[in-house]
């Protein structure tokens, strides 16, 4: 708790000061040396590596920095110590919203991509940040059940599960009981009979084992989770769009990397990278223990984005 407060303090103390407010309204810059930030988890590392490789190909000099969390790297992005980071549209919009309007502000991230992007850009632009266009890859929260359970009860979507009236024990993070996308949403939007939330964490090994063993029936994980096969799990479709539009978007510091060159270089990934691709890349790093840089380079070469 105390640490959290310190992070917030540190966060508030930075950002564009009055003297350099100009960076917000100045024309977008095109610095030749760019620092790409990663948030330290596998998917973020992979995306950051791909950004760095694409930027290098476009003639930029790049370096990478790994920063543990958003509370630390977002202020650095505003001040230009970091120039590019991979972000998740809805999550980042809500985070910026909480930073701007306080922790109790009404969430602005929504299941609709357009609405989310409008809200996100409205929050990011005054801070000197430019949110580039989203591509096809989405890393949303998702719910999985065991393949046998799905077969037995003819489940393909969360709607099916709601109509089946089956009692469901859900393995998820302990915050699930409060979050609108989790227990409350499952009950209200889908009419799923969630009898208990088993606090085993989001997509952790223990949570998936609990579903495989039949202790729990459903697990909260993400759409780019590549280990579902190993546990004999299948995702249920979010057919009523309960989950927020967490599309992957590059966020850049406008005065240093807001120019055409960066937008064009990173935009190449938009039509190519899919959610399934990302899951497969995650698996190569998390299960096979390949180096994120090698995995990213091989992928871009295979897709013809890198020569």
């Amino acid at each position: 708790m105390l640490t959290g407060a310190f992070f917030l303090l540190a966060g508030c103390a930075t950002g564009p000061s009055l003297e350099n407010r100009g960076s917000v309204t100045a024309p977008p810059g095109d610095s030749r040396h760019l620092v790409v930030g990663s948030a330290g988890f596998t998917e973020s590392d992979l995306l950051a590596q791909m950004y760095a490789l694409l930027l290098k190909q476009a003639g930029y000099k790049t370096s990478m920095i790994t920063v543990a969390n958003r509370e630390l790297y977002e202020p650095a992005l505003e001040s230009g110590q970091i120039d590019v980071v991979p972000e998740y549209a809805a999550t980042f919009a809500d985070w910026l919203n909480a930073k701007t309007h306080g922790a109790d502000a009404r969430p602005v991230g929504s299941p609709d991509l357009g609405t989310t992007m409008t809200a996100l850009r409205a929050l990011a632009t005054p801070r000197g940040l430019t949110v580039l266009d989203p591509g096809r890859a989405v890393d949303q929260n998702a719910f999985a059940v065991s393949a046998a359970y799905a077969r037995e009860h003819h489940l393909k979507t969360l709607g099916d599960l709601g109509r089946s009236g089956l009692p469901v024990r859900l393995a998820a993070g302990d915050e699930c009981v409060q979050r609108p996308y989790c227990e409350p949403g499952l009950k209200k939007t889908y009419g799923i009979d969630v009898v208990a939330v088993d606090p085993k964490g989001v997509g952790t090994t223990q949570a998936k084992q609990a579903v495989r063993s039949g202790r729990d029936q459903m697990v909260l994980t993400t759409t780019t989770d590549a280990t579902l096969d190993e546990f004999g799990l299948v995702l249920l479709d979010d057919d009523k769009h309960l989950q927020n539009a967490d599309y992957i978007v590059p966020v850049v510091n406008r005065s240093r990397a807001g120019g055409e060159g960066v937008t064009k270089a990173l935009g190449k990934l938009n039509d190519v990278l899919t959610t399934a691709d990302l899951a497969s890349l995650n698996r190569q790093v998390d299960s096979w223990r390949r180096l994120p840089e090698d995995v990213a380079r091989t992928y871009l070469r295979d897709k013809g984005l890198l020569t």
Partner: protein, 226 residues
């Protein structure tokens, strides 16, 4: 979908030769960064701690506040320390060094001060009687006699800096901590174990090195026994 490769990396074994061979450069870079951060922090810490301890010794009134301030600094959680220093230093190695210097002060100031206080009054009076001024007294009598206690502090401060550097991983400058942190997130056993073992090796090596330096600098402590 290609099949997963069958090697100790994919099997996630604790000890993995392939890990060492494929990431040799990463490991070497991490060790170099770790050594650099530790050495720079301890040297800066020493440069600040010696004057503070001398000051506290000369003016008794200063001793209380100096000790209190450095002790309070030691109680700040390391995560919070780095966050508080972030607006000043930004995301840089200087941030980690600044944090480590502040932490090393408690150990160094206390030990150096204890060493200075342990210099017998008779010794000081004898030196004064031989016409030593305050500066010469400090440099040629008091500080050498305070060396054993000071070196003990330096050794503890160095070993603790080796382990604290790892926390720098939250801002990307943590030496081997970067690898431990990333490895813990993905249950990468070989990475966590290798980086942790290297940390311990660095700590032990640094401690032994300082012990050797201390023996070289204080020949009289051995002559007395021999």
């Amino acid at each position: 979908m290609t099949a997963p490769p069958d090697d100790c990396l994919a099997r996630n074994e604790w000890i993995c030769g392939e890990y060492l061979s494929t990431r040799r450069h990463i490991l070497l870079d991490a060790v170099a960064q770790h050594l650099q951060l530790t050495a720079v922090s301890v040297l800066f810490g020493l440069a600040v701690a010696v004057p503070l301890a001398v000051l506290a010794r000369r003016w008794g009134l200063a001793a209380g506040p100096v000790l209190a301030a450095t002790t309070v600094l030691y109680t700040v959680p390391s995560l919070a320390m780095f966050s508080l220093l972030l607006p000043v230093y930004g995301l840089s190695a200087a941030l980690v060094v600044a944090g480590l210097v502040l932490y090393s002060l408690t150990l160094l100031v206390r030990n150096i001060l204890a060493g200075l206080r342990a210099v017998p009054e008779e010794t000081r009076q004898a030196a004064r009687g031989m016409g030593y001024g305050p500066v010469r007294l400090l440099l040629t009598v008091e500080l050498p006699l305070a060396l054993p206690a000071g070196m003990a502090g330096l050794r503890i401060a160095t070993v603790s800096a080796v382990s604290l550097v790892t926390v720098g991983a939250i801002v990307g400058f943590g030496g081997l901590g970067n690898l431990i942190y990333a490895g813990m997130n993905t249950y990468f056993k070989a990475q966590v174990l290798t980086a942790s073992v290297l940390c311990v090796v660095i700590a032990v090596a640094a401690d032994l090195l300082l012990l050797a330096v201390q023996r070289l600098m204080t020949p009289w402590t051995r002559a007395g026994r021999g």
